[in-house]
Amino acid sequence: MEEQECRASECAQKVSEGRREFLHTCSLAAPLLLLGLRAAAVEAWATTDAPYNPREHSYGMGVDVSKCIGCGRCVEACKNENDVPREPFYFRTWVERYVIATSRETVVDSPDGGIAGFPTKPSEKGLLRTFFVPKLCNQCANPPCVQVCPVGATFATEDGVVLVDQEYCIGCRYCVQACPYGARFLDPRTHTADKCTFCYHRVVRGLLPACVEVCPTGARVFGEVQQRSSPLARFTRFNKILTLKPYLNTKPKVYYANLDEEVR
């Protein structure tokens, strides 16, 4: 009887150890599995034999303001991926921090575009709310920059991305003046206009823009505007969406969720 009891408890212990091992293995394998699935999915998009047809796409980006932690990894990734000058005057994307006091006074900053995060902490005394807002070219459907470019060097692609032809731009900077979002700059090396391209060289190969790829919290969502099944469509379906300066009728394709009225 005693022996039986002993065996039963041994057995239970073995079972419990086995379960623990299994769960442990699963916990180790899960991220690998997810990565594998993701890679497979990306790969499947990237390696389709059919040539890229811009007419089949219409790109946009979603930004969930409540998810942004202001780490600046997107800014860093963008500068690296797109060879943006390192000086703190040239950004294809940047992160702003809003600190709103109970007096409603709003202080905004973006030290070096937020590339190294926000080292100084705002005082918590009298603080009403604070948040980070990633900014980038809004890839407007009605882009004023394209309208004003005297030679057509800035143009909208069929898949809805506004690009600059560096070989054609005359550097008149009218587009810089026409952009309401401060999204453009003049590249000091080429003396031509430059801006976010949604990492066009990546997205046409089925990859995500660098900023989206590195965002640790998933605050940026990239995808198809038109297709119902895309992550972006889902994002816009489950969130209340606002765009920046809608009264200018630029029809931005960067969609913000949880945007504050203070953001311009």
Binding site: E87, P88, F89, Y90, F91, W94, E96, T106, V107, V108, D109, S110, D112, G113, K135, P144, V146, Q147, V148, C149, P150, V151, G152, Y168, C169, I170, G171, C172, R173, Y174, V176, Q177, A178, C179, P180, Y181, G182, A183, R184, F185, L186, P188, T190, H191, T192, L248, R264
Partner: protein, 408 residues
């Protein structure tokens, strides 16, 4: 990068990171100032030709040559400010018809080729023929070349010249309006910028252009007459001062309308624009443009010129009146240059986030520097000197000792 780092230190409030670099500098201030003088000088000339204001006849040819000299220089500041000036011709080859700036080439070419050169040619043709018949050496050949082989001096041909001249001037007036109104449109149509975005902008540009053009011709006429030791035609000066006063009244009213309209509407940009006007633009806008460049000359011209009373509200001797006209004209030039500065630079001193102000650091050297801009402001005067030597605009040059009807 050092100037940009310095600017970064002086930013107040928040500006978008890409706004640290101010994109349109002194050269873009010079551009509307110069084109304004072209349009203004031409409209003054048209007063003689179309509206038969005989009193300002002595300035007619001088106005045309001044307009030409400034028009030749007008594209240079634009060219110099381009990041890739070697690609500038693309504006002509593959223009984007939706772009206001792309129309520059066409408006410019139209104005230069169809209006100004043709009008000057028709006006001077008879004299060119007569000069080339009387002169020797290089001048003879240059003048003969400029006749383009049209040496017919029959009354019919002269009548045709005059008719064509008048016709071109009639086309020229809307063209001059187009030229400078268009420059105003380049700024006024930028909806991203609340300081620029105004339907009044082309009209304000136009009237300030007329003001600056008349003031410049008044100065040039007086200077050239004194340098040639000829008597100053005070009837002409008085008429110029009167027109200057009228134009200034309209210009000032439009500026005030724009100002009051903005203040009354008080859109979201009003706070940052108030900061701009009371701070970084105070000297150039309130002091130079409004007080010294507009109100003071208005009072001066209103009191001294025959605009309000036939002998002036305050009757002064010719010499003193002339001196005050000069003072008013010089102040107006400073005021109009400040107007251009306040539009171009002022429109870039505040962030489109409407949360902060930046500064403009003027460079001395380099293409965007003070020296190049200064040179571009002097260049039209040098060109004008050459044009005057080539095509004397003085009344005595039109008197030919031996009238001839022979064709060359």
């Amino acid at each position: 990068m050092e100037p940009l780092r310095e600017i970064l230190q002086q930013v107040s409030g928040y500006i978008y990171p890409n706004e640290v670099e101010l994109h349109w500098g002194l050269l873009v201030v010079v551009y509307p100032y110069v084109t304004g003088l072209v349009a203004g000088a031409f409209i003054l000339a048209s007063l003689v030709r179309v509206f038969n204001v005989r009193e300002v006849q002595p300035t007619y040819r001088l106005s045309l040559l001044t307009a030409l000299a400034y028009l030749i220089v007008a594209p240079l500041p634009l060219l110099a400010h381009l990041g890739r000036p070697e690609r500038a011709f693309e504006i002509f080859l593959t223009p984007n018809f939706h772009s206001a700036m792309a129309m520059f080439g066409f408006v410019y070419a139209w104005y230069l080729m169809v209006v100004l050169l043709l009008e000057i040619w028709f006006d001077y043709r008879k004299d060119l023929v007569l000069w080339s018949a009387q002169e020797t050496g290089v001048r003879r050949w240059v003048h003969r070349l400029l006749t383009l082989g049209a040496g017919d001096l029959s009354p019919r041909a002269i009548r045709f010249d005059q008719g064509a001249g008048r016709f071109i001037t009639v086309i020229g007036i809307p063209s001059a309006f187009l030229l400078h109104g268009y420059v105003g449109f380049i700024f006024g149509s930028v909806k991203a910028n609340p300081w620029w975005s105004s339907v009044l902008m082309p009209i304000v540009f136009l009237f300030s252009a007329i003001v600056s053009g008349i003031a410049l011709i008044l100065l040039l006429y007086l200077l050239s007459t004194l340098l040639r030791s000829k008597p100053v035609d005070m009837v002409c000066m008085d008429k110029l001062a009167t027109f200057l006063f009228y134009a200034l009244v309209v210009d000032f009213s439009l500026e005030m309308l724009d100002f009051i309209h903005r203040l009354y509407e008080a859109e979201e940009s009003i706070h940052i624009l108030s900061q701009l006007v009371s701070g970084r633009l105070f000297l150039s806008l309130v002091v130079l443009q409004a007080l010294l460049g507009t109100v003071f000359p208005l009072l001066l011209l209103g009191l001294v010129s025959p605009a309000l009373r036939s002998r002036g509200v305050v009757s002064l001797p010719d010499e003193l009146r002339r001196l005050l006209y000069v003072a008013a004209a010089v102040l107006i030039q400073i005021g109009i240059f400040s107007t251009r500065w306040n539009v171009v630079i002022g429109g870039q001193l505040f962030s489109k986030s409407l949360r902060g102000l930046t500064v403009y650091k003027m460079q001395l050297l380099g293409l965007e520097g003070l020296f190049v801009s200064g040179f571009l402001l002097l260049l039209p005067l040098l060109l004008l000197l050459v044009l005057i030597v080539l095509l004397p605009p003085w009344p005595e040059a039109e008197r030919h000792p031996v009238p001839t009807n022979t064709a060359i």
